[in-house]
């Protein structure tokens, strides 16, 4: 990293010399510097790299699933002949392998892509920089929090090589199905590990935000990204342990043959060692008590990122800052009392179902506050259509569609009809891909200059957005129609049912665009890798943004900042009448001659 810092700071003013020497003071061994690093930026990059890798793995699984639905029984192109006979017959996907693919696609995308990149990479990178401090409150804990993730990923993927294959019960892994098989045990162990990673990360973020804010920074001076990550961290700390307890209980059932989730008189082909007397629905309650908040762990940080991107590129203050903060808190709180809406068809009492239905629909209120405030932020702004801005705008559109289809699922009587169909698949992908992932793309492009000290390629970035946006909608929108038509999800060959046969052309259409969507992501990878080496050197504040991370050097070294940070104002003073420029950063002293000069200097230095 020293070498990189040295080139970036070439020709910079003397203020950088300080940071430069500092780099050398902290010279550490290769292993401590790049592998077991405690520096929050390195950890953020590690999370980022591993998440991008697993994005490709999870995406490849999705394409295999799509291949099977469009052309059931036909050999998988290219790789089909390489796969073992336990997974494929004559190159075509077998039912068992299909359910494993479905399970692994979701497990990897949720636990190894979206959560690590949103609550791992962005949180680690943004929190210390945006609150103007040198590192996390507990750097060692932070390091452990990352290294649990690859270990967990290897554990769960090892399932492909054990007898009976990897977990195949869907990512929710309901018992009794999930109470047998080594693959399921490995899945449970991996979930426990990522859960622990998530808790350690979360407690670090909470402690850092509370304890390490720069001088003068009140809680209501925090950028919305930090607020969102802070609230997410609270969800991680309080929600994840319940999943850990749940996973431990399932582990006991699997390995020690207890019957916590296994009912009386259950026959298992592997021989019945179980006493019975357990409650299968108990797993679902505990699982969703975590996994509904987990949905917000995946979307809330992204809401924060999008708020910052929209304000910066609209050159306007965020519309209703405090309303945005309280809406985030309301979403997080409500997230804990709505888990039952995943279980309307579990035989739940209709009265209980109604309470869950009402609390779920109430979430539409804070969500709408956010969407309207985003629109209010963009409204009559001086909009710059950069790649992050395009992705943020794409987020608003697709997230709104996903939110509205969520209302369908929230209403019990409708949910009973469309649950476990492709309608829910469309919904989850509109909020998780259309929502989280577009927001993640926005964040990646927005902070790329600060993360790697280089500018990404704007043309390539725009192509990536346009192709992703078009193929995404053509891929996932038709799934709503499949779902209403009764096409169930997680089905190996839908065409064994006559009424689903007419859907084959639509499935083929979806698959074609899924493949295009998958390959469009190579543009993102290419952009990131190419510009790492050949990108233009980034200036210190390329977006002329207000938040503190842009006060740090273009490619900050250990310790982050090369000047004292005192916060004088909130994060969204764009187009303020107090300044001649259209932005007024948090760290600039209130209008005096010297502060104008410093403002000028920071705007232009590298």
């Amino acid at each position: 990293m020293e070498a990189a810092v040295a080139t970036h700071e070439h020709g910079a003013d003397h203020a950088h010399a300080d940071a430069h020497t500092h780099e050398h003071v902290h010279h550490t061994s290769f292993i401590r510097h790049y592998i077991f690093s405690t520096d929050h930026k390195t950890i953020a990059k590690q999370f980022f790299g591993s998440a991008l890798f697993f994005l490709l793995v999870g995406g490849a699984f999705a394409l295999l699933i799509r291949w099977q639905l469009a052309y059931p029984g036909e050999p998988i192109p290219v790789i089909g002949k390489w796969l073992p006979d336990s997974l494929v017959s004559n190159g075509a996907i077998q039912p068992g392998f299909y359910t494993q693919l479905v399970t692994m696609h979701a497990t990897i995308m949720i636990f190894f892509v979206i959560i690590p990149i949103a609550a791992g990479s962005f949180a680690n990178f943004c929190i210390p920089l945006m609150i103007g401090t040198d590192d996390m409150a507990m750097p060692y804990v932070n390091m452990i929090s990352f290294w649990l993730v690859p270990v967990a990923a290897l554990t769960v993927l090892a399932g492909f090589f054990v007898d009976g294959g990897t977990a195949g019960g869907g990512w929710t892994n309901y018992p009794p199905l999930s109470a047998t098989g080594t693959g399921h045990t490995l899945w449970v162990v991996a979930i426990f590990m990522v859960g622990f990673s998530s808790i350690l990360g979360g407690m670090n973020y909470v402690a850092t935000v509370l304890n390490k804010r720069a001088k003068g920074m009140r809680m209501f001076d925090l950028p919305l990204t930090v607020w969102a990550l802070f609230i997410t961290a609270v969800l991680q700390v309080l929600g994840t342990p319940v999943l850990a307890a749940d996973a431990s209980l399932l582990f006991l059932d699997q390995v020690f043959h207890s019957s916590i989730f296994l009912p009386e008189n259950l026959l298992i082909s592997t021989g019945n060692l179980h006493s019975g007397g357990g409650q299968p629905i108990l797993w679902q309650h505990l699982f969703w008590f975590y996994s509904h908040p987990a949905v917000y762990i995946m979307i809330v940080p992204i809401m924060g990122v999008v708020s910052d991107v929209l304000a910066t590129f609209s050159r306007k203050p965020i519309y209703g800052y405090k309303a945005m903060v309280f809406a985030l808190m309301a979403i997080a709180f409500l997230g804990f009392i709505v888990w039952g809406h995943h279980m309307f068809i579990s035989g739940m009492s209709p009265l209980l179902g109604t309470t869950f239905m009402l609390s779920t629909i109430v979430i539409a209120v804070p969500s709408s506050i956010k969407v309207f405030n985003w629109l209010g932020t963009v409204w009559r702004g001086n909009i710059y259509f950069t790649t992050p801005m395009l992705n943020a705008l794409g987020f608003i559109g697709t997230f709104t569609i996903g939110g509205i289809s969520g209302i369908f699922m929230a209403v019990g009587p409708i949910d009973v009809y469309i649950t476990d169909t492709y309608f829910i698949v469309a919904h989850i992908h509109y909020v998780l891909f259309g929502g989280s992932l577009f927001g993640i793309f926005a964040g990646i492009y927005y902070w790329y200059p600060k993360m790697f000290g280089k500018m990404y390629n704007e043309t390539l970035g725009k192509w990536h957005f346009v192709l992703t946006f078009i193929t995404f909608n053509l891929c996932f929108f038709p799934m709503h129609m499949l779902g209403v038509g009764g096409h169930m999800r997680r089905i190996h060959d839908p065409y064994i049912y006559d009424f689903l046969k007419p859907f084959q052309p639509m499935n083929e259409f979806i698959t074609i665009f899924a493949i295009l969507l998958g390959f469009s992501q190579l543009l993102l990878i290419a952009n990131i890798l190419w510009c790492l080496k050949y990108g233009k050197v980034a200036p210190r504040n390329p977006w002329k943004a207000n938040t503190l991370e842009w006060a740090a050097p273009a490619h900050p070294g250990h310790g982050n900042f090369d000047r004292d940070i005192i916060v004088y104002r909130g994060p969204y003073e764009y187009s303020s009448p107090e300044s001649k420029k259209d932005y007024l950063p948090q760290w600039i002293k209130p209008a005096t001659k010297t502060s104008e000069k410093e403002h000028e200097a920071i705007a232009h230095e590298g």
């Binding site: 409150a137 407690m203 342990p241 007397g277 309650h285 004292d564």
Partner: protein, 194 residues
């Protein structure tokens, strides 16, 4: 970076580790809540099996363990107080007693477990014993986890430099009291409800 005064931390006035520990303990409360929830749900559907299971546990041994663990919480508090007042030898004494109590607790636990195995009682026997083994098992792991830093601080205090980081002992104390508190819930729930 010594020329810079970036932060004026800790902002809350509570040191990072202590704040982190409080947050971690909040997380731990949720972790054990998951088990207690499962216990309540399973008990309500297996009242007879749970009542029978509880009679098969040895409440005198558990009562002994309760006294031992509460005692260790007291000595832990005394150890913190001694170090705060700079009384090194008293600190060593109280830390040693705490460590000893933890060992005693685990030995008694071991006796309880082996007796159960001896009688052919395993997690697969009934849902009551499944809950018993997992709840006391995780609590035992927490006791073991606490013994590591207790032993480390104790051994460091015998080194030339001694051990003076009173704040860290206090953080460990928070954890130790929590482990004690969990047991105070486990004892009546598992052993005393027939």
């Amino acid at each position: 970076m010594s020329a810079l005064t970036l932060t004026h931390e800790p902002v809350t006035g509570i040191r990072h580790g202590k704040l982190g520990m409080w947050i971690f303990l909040a997380s731990e409360v949720m972790f054990f809540s998951g088990f207690f929830t499962a216990f309540i749900i399973l008990r309500n559907s297996n009242l007879a099996a749970f009542a029978k299971g509880a009679t098969e546990l040895s409440w005198p041994l558990a009562a002994l363990n309760t006294v031992v663990l509460i005692g260790s919480s007291l000595t832990m508090a005394m150890a913190i107080l001694s170090l705060e007042n700079g009384k090194k030898q008293r600190f060593q004494l109280f830390m040693f007693i705490t460590f000893l109590c933890a060992c005693t607790f685990l030995v008694v636990k071991y006796i309880e477990y082996t007796t159960k195995f001896h009688h052919g009682i395993y997690p697969s026997t009934s849902t009551f014993f499944a809950m018993y083994f997992i709840m006391t098992g995780f609590h035992g792991i927490h006791v073991l986890g606490g013994m590591i830093p207790i032993g480390w601080m104790l051994s460091r205090s015998f080194s030339k430099k001694g051990y003076t980081d009173y704040g860290r002992v206090e953080i460990l104390g928070l954890y130790w009291h929590f482990v004690d508190l969990v047991w105070i819930f486990l004892f009546p729930v598992l052993y005393l409800i027939f």
